[in-house]
């Protein structure tokens, strides 16, 4: 049911871990749905993503999309990175099974949150990530799957 690329990123995920003193951190998902993604960013003075790491609780699709997006944006500017969509991440992986497009394809949302966190940090120091509540912006109660 998964493509070779998904299985490759699931079995050999790239950029797993944390960045100490990260410039931006973003988390999406919640335990109810069973997917939580956290992305850490190191951004240099030219607004280029120098380093990116992730930790993910979830299925193979959740882990693979997290891994894939770290590869896609490393070395890119945050302006470029902001343009990446969940759909593009899935496409880079050769597609995802239909139900996974909804519930586990959250990596671009996590990245956006991390970038917003970084931008917030530049103005007002706010390095705390929300650990409680629903960080998923989807309405799962109206899910058709």
């Amino acid at each position: 049911m998964y493509t070779e690329q998904v299985m490759d990123h699931f079995t050999n995920p790239r950029n797993v871990g944390e960045i100490e003193k990260a410039d931006g951190v973003g988390e999406v998902g919640n335990m109810k749905c069973g997917d939580i993604m956290r992305i850490y960013l190191k951004v240099n003075d030219n607004e280029v993503i120098e380093d990116i790491k992730f930790r993910t609780f979830g299925c193979a699709a959740a882990i693979a999309t997290s891994s894939m997006i770290t590869e896609m944006v490393k070395g890119k500017t945050i302006t470029e990175a902001m343009k990446i969509t969940n759909k593009q991440v899935a496409a880079e992986l050769g597609g995802l099974p239909a139900p996974k497009m909804h519930c586990s394809n959250l990596a671009a949302d996590a990245l956006k949150k991390a970038i917003e966190n970084y931008q917030g940090n530049n103005n007002q120091v706010n390095n705390k990530i929300e650990e409680t509540g629903n960080n998923c912006n989807r309405d799962c109660n109206n899910c058709s799957y």
């Binding site: 699931f10 335990m31 109810k32 069973g34 956290r38 930790r55 993910t56 959740a62």
Partner: protein, 388 residues
């Protein structure tokens, strides 16, 4: 690659002896049992012989056995058929929150049609209590349907006691015995049941064939129309090779039951001990009142589908109650009814052992699983590290 099959609650491999009995009915004995010529008579003889075998295995008589396409059909036929036949008497049905979807959803559908359905809660082990059934009974109750053993956590329900209670109140009692046959003794008289559903592929028989035990004198409304097969309760040309396979499979399933299941239980306990030795793991289901081959554990901080796929890459086949594998948004309704939190339910793994498993296979699982858990936990944002 090495293959280890530990998903016998999903389905079992077809027994060679069963296959050999089926083959002639896929080839030369292809007749329709309703035909009166020699071809038909040959097929009819085989169907009736199989009915005798199923009846003998359950402690029933042959005329109490109705062949179906499987347990889903048997459950639908039983629940809908009783509800309709009894609706002048009342409209209340009692079931449990941990039934298989074939029962749960059938009851939910009847609820939408206007029946009053009580979904009894279970305790932390997934057990339905006799007292809860007693408390739920009203003068409008027409049917109680509670599974004999749970498919996810293996908990064995107090069916004989619930059956006794139903007899005292003159209420019809159905049990879904799909997971029990070939694992624990199943005798319709000892269990005090009026209806019982089963399917062949859970005990080394073929897929697509099952049966409903319908106690003599129990009236059932039909909801399929067609020919006169199965006393018009289940019309349609019989699946002769399947029925032959079911008959042989159930005969073998109840043979030397204790010796077979004792052997499986030793392996299961070995696996259980090894798995629970991994940090942050928890047993789901009843510690004692549980099917001998069932082991359901939650591995905290990781998600079930990731575990299944990682084990699959090592050739090991298991299942999980995580949302990703339940085919719906939520994790298993069974685990949630038992009061597990979402994380514990998402991290559940179900191992179900069968007659062909070996000690060596169990040791192989115990060898590869800890590394898989460590790897997935190292990626998990909710894992706070080892206690050691």
């Amino acid at each position: 690659m090495r293959k280890v099959y530990l998903d016998h609650a999903a389905t079992t491999p077809l027994n060679e002896e069963v296959l050999n009995e089926m083959l002639p009915y896929l080839k030369e004995h292809f007749g329709n049992p309703s035909s009166i010529h020699s071809f038909g008579r040959e097929a009819r003889r085989a169907v009736e012989e199989s009915r005798e075998r199923v009846a003998a295995a359950l402690g029933a008589s042959a005329e109490e056995i109705i062949f179906t396409s499987g347990a889903t059909e048997a459950n639908n036929l039983a629940i809908r058929g009783i509800a309709r036949a009894q609706q002048k008497k009342g409209n209340h049905i009692i079931t449990s929150a941990v039934e298989h979807h074939a029962v749960y959803d059938t009851c939910a559908a009847l609820q939408k049609e206007g029946f009053d359905v009580t979904f009894l809660p279970v305790d932390e082990y997934g057990m339905v209590s006799v007292d809860a059934v007693a408390a739920a009974i009203t003068d409008k109750t027409i049917l109680v349907t509670i599974m004999l053993a749970n498919n996810e956590v293996g908990t064995i329900m107090p069916i004989a006691e619930i059956g006794q209670l139903c007899r005292e109140h003159d209420i019809i009692f159905h049990t879904d015995a799909v997971q029990a046959i070939g694992n624990i003794p199943v005798n319709v008289k000892d269990l005090n049941v009026d209806l019982l559903s089963l399917t062949a592929h859970k005990f080394y028989g073929p897929k697509g064939v099952g049966a409903l035990y319908l106690r003599k004198g129990t009236r059932l409304n039909v909801y399929h129309y067609g020919g006169a097969q199965e006393r018009k309760l289940r019309p349609g040309t019989e699946n002769v090779p399947g029925i032959v396979g079911l008959g042989k499979a159930i005969e073998l399933a109840v043979k030397d039951l204790e010796a077979k299941t004792n052997r499986i239980k030793v392996l299961r306990d070995r696996l259980q001990e090894g798995l629970l030795a991994i940090e942050h793991t928890k047993l789901n289901g009843h510690p004692q009142q549980r099917l001998p081959g069932n082991l359901n554990v939650s591995i905290l901080f990781v998600e079930g589908e990731s575990l299944i796929l990682s084990l699959d890459l090592k050739g090991i086949a298991v299942s999980s109650g995580s949302a990703c594998t339940s085919g719906s948004l939520d994790p298993s309704h069974v685990l949630m009814a038992m009061g597990l939190d979402h994380q514990t339910a998402h991290g559940s793994l179900r191992f179900t052992l069968g007659v062909n498993n070996t000690e060596e296979e169990i040791d192989y699982v115990l060898e590869v699983l800890p590394d898989i858990v460590t790897r997935l936990r190292s990626m998990s944002p909710v894992y706070k590290g080892s206690n050691k």
